[in-house]
């Protein structure tokens, strides 16, 4: 008997469940799913040797024994009681996504504010605002040649939709908490869509957590549009347990003079692959991609970033730092692509990593493709240890070697954290990072799993 390939399994699964998945949704969405599946059939999962995925082989994970939910499960879950992703002093609107579905007991699926702001369930938004959604859904995140985006496009049924109309400033940040809670090993594919029209501003924080020790696989897509002069601050805090695998695909399209800051702080997670693609499609757009990851034991974190400078006078900055302990591994692949018309581009990239052991490993690769001739581009990458001279200086003042190392690691991380906006958020992350480095964050809130066992 022929064993099915992982690709076939998903093709079959889609065929079986297509009815359920597409039930009640507008035609254009169902169409999108079919196109996605066709694209997925063509390209399949990346091979082991595929350049873009050579350090992170995902097919075996996707091929595992996984359960899928095609409807939100009735889980008795009281957010207030069971889980708090606390950011003290931060006034935010908290949206919970449980196993890929927006969880809103007793609340409407979609909030519609007087100023025109809409946020809540993407599924509900598709039902209520098909024309608005049609303008944006699937128009940025590419399915051709992108199997993970294609899979998500075919299978995802919910996630968070945020819409900020022209000129509106979203006063209160949105905090999206992604929770995984199941009694089986499970796969979840949620999809977010954030649309900021011209001259609008918003701040979004996404936290990823796992609440039970099962193996979770998340394949998510977040599409972002920032219109002319719009400003978006997006921060993702990844804190799933070490028996999980998380693939994020974030696609950001920026119009002229827009400003976007995208930060990723990865504290836990067995295998994490963050695909980030930012397209600067209007003059004078500015984008900052920050990343901080802390790994130990056998964790693996892979950051793959592409910034397309399509228009002139745009600025981009990639600033990624990692601290790797034990036998953990990491990868950074940062591409800057400057198109022929993109004169006066300023593009910078830095990736600094500290290896705390001889067995930790980091692969870093800058890629610059520059087709315009009047540009300013730079890149730098380091993989090293803590500065011995600095360590000795601290020790010579009576500070133990262990504490000295922690002080230097805190300082190393602070370099990225200091660029995050909102002091309460900075404080919270500094605290989490500090605890993480001291091994005091092995248990995320109510997760039954202790990551150091």
């Amino acid at each position: 008997m022929e064993t099915l390939t992982a690709t076939d399994k998903y093709l079959d699964l889609f065929k079986q469940r297509q009815q359920e998945i597409t039930d009640g949704e507008p035609g254009f969405v169902s169409q999108l799913r079919e196109e996605a599946m066709a694209s997925f059939r063509e390209v399949g999962f990346p091979e082991r040797k595929a350049e873009a995925y050579k350090y992170t082989h995902l097919e075996p994970v996707f091929d595992g024994e996984l359960h899928f939910d095609f409807h939100p499960r009735q889980i008795r879950f009281d957010d207030q009681e069971l889980f708090r992703c606390d950011v003290p002093m931060l006034d935010a609107n908290v949206l919970t996504v449980l196993n890929g579905f927006f969880h809103h007991p007793g609340e409407p699926a979609l909030a519609e504010l007087d100023n025109g702001v809409i946020y809540g369930s993407l599924k509900e938004a598709i039902r209520r605002y098909p024309d608005l959604i049609k303008k944006y859904l699937g128009k940025n995140a590419r399915i051709q040649g992108e199997p993970f985006v294609a899979l998500n496009t075919a299978f995802s049924q919910d996630g968070i939709f945020l819409y900020v109309p022209k000129g509106v400033h979203l006063e209160v940040p949105i905090q999206i908490i992604h929770l995984l809670l199941s009694d089986k090993n499970q796969m979840v594919q949620h999809r977010n869509l954030f649309v900021l029209e011209s001259h609008s501003t918003a701040q979004v924080i996404i936290c990823d957590h796992t609440l039970s020790p099962h193996m979770y696989l998340t394949n998510s897509v977040t599409e972002v549009y920032t219109g002319e002069n719009a400003d978006l601050d997006l921060l993702r805090l990844q804190n799933e347990h070490n028996n999980s695998c998380q693939v994020t695909n974030t696609w950001i399209r920026q119009e002229q003079h827009s400003h976007c800051q995208h930060g990723t702080v990865t504290l836990h997670g067995g295998m994490v692959r963050n695909n980030l693609r930012i397209s600067l499609e209007g003059e004078g757009a500015e984008t900052h991609a920050l990343g901080l990851f802390l790994t130990d034991k056998m964790q693996h974190v892979d950051s793959y970033t592409v910034i397309d400078h399509q228009q002139p006078h745009c600025t981009s900055n990639q600033y990624y730092k990692g601290v790797l302990d034990d036998v953990s591994t990491g990868a950074f692949n940062g591409k800057i692509h400057v198109f022929p018309d993109a004169q006066k581009t300023e593009a910078f990239q830095t990736n600094n990593n500290i290896l705390l052991t001889d067995t930790a490993r980091m692969h870093t690769k800058p890629r610059l493709e520059i087709y315009a001739d009047d540009v300013k581009c730079s890149h730098g990458a380091t993989v090293g240890q803590l500065d011995e001279n600095a360590l000795f200086y601290l020790q010579s003042r009576g500070i133990s070697r262990d504490e000295s190392r922690l002080m230097l690691m805190d300082a190393f991380a602070w370099d990225v954290i200091s660029k995050i906006k909102q002091p309460p958020l900075q404080e919270r992350i500094t605290d989490l990072v500090s605890k993480r480095l001291r091994g005091e964050l092995s248990r995320c809130n109510n997760c039954a799993m202790h990551c150091d066992e």
């Binding site: 000795f392 020790q395 010579s396 009576g398 504490e403 805190d410 370099d415």
Partner: protein, 258 residues
């Protein structure tokens, strides 16, 4: 453990780095209350001596002993040496971006206090203490708001070393070329600081190339280090002789005997 007569006894110390011998038999005795100056031409091993005393681990002690208050110093880690009261004023203080001066000093001080079985100093009391010591050594208030030594000029870095010394109150201070790169004003400030901290209970070893500093901080003893050995000892007048005649006459004296 009984307290020895001398605070510091260095006996026939030989130190190498990667099989190259830098110190070839140092003998030095320092008592509480004394100030010793160690002078010498470049390359004589002055900084190696300072680093070996502070516990830098890329030096190998191949022979001899260092006794601090009767205890074998080589058994102690750098942090324990500091906690026992040894302070090294670095020749080139390193910059540590991201580590705030306040956090650094408070952690250091409380580390010392813990070692001495004292309670950590509450934040308010610590800031008060910092202000006191800042005034004493005339260090700019601004500098302590920054990261350790970050963006400090040469003179500011040296003043910062003395400021730390004032805060940590060591029993044995080793100042490694504290005067290098200082203008007259900075020199005066640094010297005042050192002099104010001088007491019958503590001792200071000043490592310097030039005699100038020793006009401000009067030494009890002056030793000349050349080719890894102390080749001459005297009082402050020896320093004046070196100022007038340079090191050549000593070099010739030593080399002709070899």
């Amino acid at each position: 453990m009984s307290k020895a007569n001398h605070m510091l006894e260095i006996k026939d110390l030989r130190v190498s780095i990667e099989d190259k011998e830098i110190l070839s038999g140092i003998n030095l005795m320092v008592k509480a209350g004394e100030v010793h100056a160690i002078m010498g031409p470049n390359g004589s091993g002055k900084s190696t001596l300072a680093s070996a005393l502070a516990g830098r681990d890329y030096f190998d002690i191949t022979h001899g002993k260092i006794l601090y208050e009767g205890q074998d110093l080589t058994e102690l880690s750098p942090e324990d040496r500091a906690r026992e009261g040894i302070f090294l004023g670095f020749q080139y203080p390193v910059e540590i971006p991201g580590v705030s001066m306040v956090n650094f000093l408070r952690t250091a001080l409380n580390s010392m206090r813990k070692y001495r079985q004292q309670e950590p100093l509450p934040a308010g009391d610590f800031l008060k203490l910092m202000r006191e010591k800042k005034n004493m050594v005339e260090i700019d208030s601004d500098l302590t708001n920054r990261s350790v030594n970050e963006g400090f000029s040469g003179g500011e870095k040296k003043k910062n070393e003395i400021f730390q010394m004032a805060l940590l109150e060591p029993r044995l201070a080793i100042l490694d070329e504290t005067d290098s790169g200082l203008d007259i004003d900075a020199l005066r400030v640094v010297s005042n600081g050192v002099n104010k901290l001088r007491s019958p209970e503590n001792a200071t070893i000043i490592i310097t190339h030039y005699q100038r500093l020793l006009e401000y901080i009067e030494p009890d003893y002056v030793h000349v280090l050349y080719k890894g050995r102390i080749v001459k000892s005297g009082d402050k007048n020896l320093a004046r002789e070196l100022e007038e005649h340079g090191y050549d006459w000593i070099k010739q004296e030593v080399d002709s005997k070899a």
